[in-house]
Amino acid sequence: MKIPYLSAALVCLVLAGPATAQLTPDQLAKKCGKKVSNECVIRQFKDSPEASVMRGSIAFQNYCTLCHGKEGRGDGRAARLHSPPPANLVASRLPAEYVIQIVRKGGEAIGRGKGMPPWGEQLTDEQVQDLINYLMSIRV
């Protein structure tokens, strides 16, 4: 599955420098050719931040878009069922560690809205970390 804005996210990560990216355009081209696919990055550079963000994006599309929307703006098709509404993850400024707690334990367990389910039993630790890396990458 090709997720269009992942390529843009990848470019942002590459441009963001060594703190968030490890892959250079040369490395990518060497392993994945001129047209870099998400699948290739995940397969060839599985331990890289870029691959983690891509895996996180897939997890997000599978589990989170229902309420948070395809772009994470809190406007998913089930958003209208919730009060308070689902968080706008693009605008969020919550620390990553706190977001991990929300994802794992759900909103109610940490005194937030009941609408956010606990994902700790559904997602592995790696998937949660990938998801957090993706959420950090879509913030504006």
């Binding site: 089930a78 209208r80 069922l81 919730h82 109610e108 009941k114 609408g115 389910p117 039993e121 559904q122």
Partner: protein, 103 residues
């Protein structure tokens, strides 16, 4: 006089005739794909899995969100309008159930 007393009782008793159904959630599936109920009936969604489920519906005739609940717990929904209600789980996107509510 006796009829006058019994008549109101009859109307009070009518809603009690509504049925309760139980739909389980096991192995990330509903225990059935479709269930037919009548207007006024209730469906109890019981979590038989060792992890959370979060049952909801966005259908126009009955939208609801039962929130997250753990194994052994259940949540009940009364269907008060006829039509088809598509029920899903927000944690397990492959779970689908159709409740056909008849008059």
């Amino acid at each position: 006089m006796r009829k006058l007393i019994l008549l109101p009782l009859l109307f009070v008793a009518l809603p009690l005739a509504a049925a309760d159904y139980v739909v389980g959630q096991k192995n990330k599936e509903f225990s059935m794909k479709t269930i037919k109920v009548k207007v006024g009936d209730s469906v109890e969604f019981r979590n038989d899995d060792p992890f959370f489920h979060n049952i909801f519906s966005l259908s126009d005739i009955k939208s609801f969100d039962l929130g997250s609940y753990a194994q052994g717990q259940s949540r009940k929904v009364m269907f008060d309008k006829p039509g088809k209600v598509e029920v899903e789980c927000s944690i397990h996107p492959n779970m689908k159930l159709v409740v056909e509510v008849e008059k």
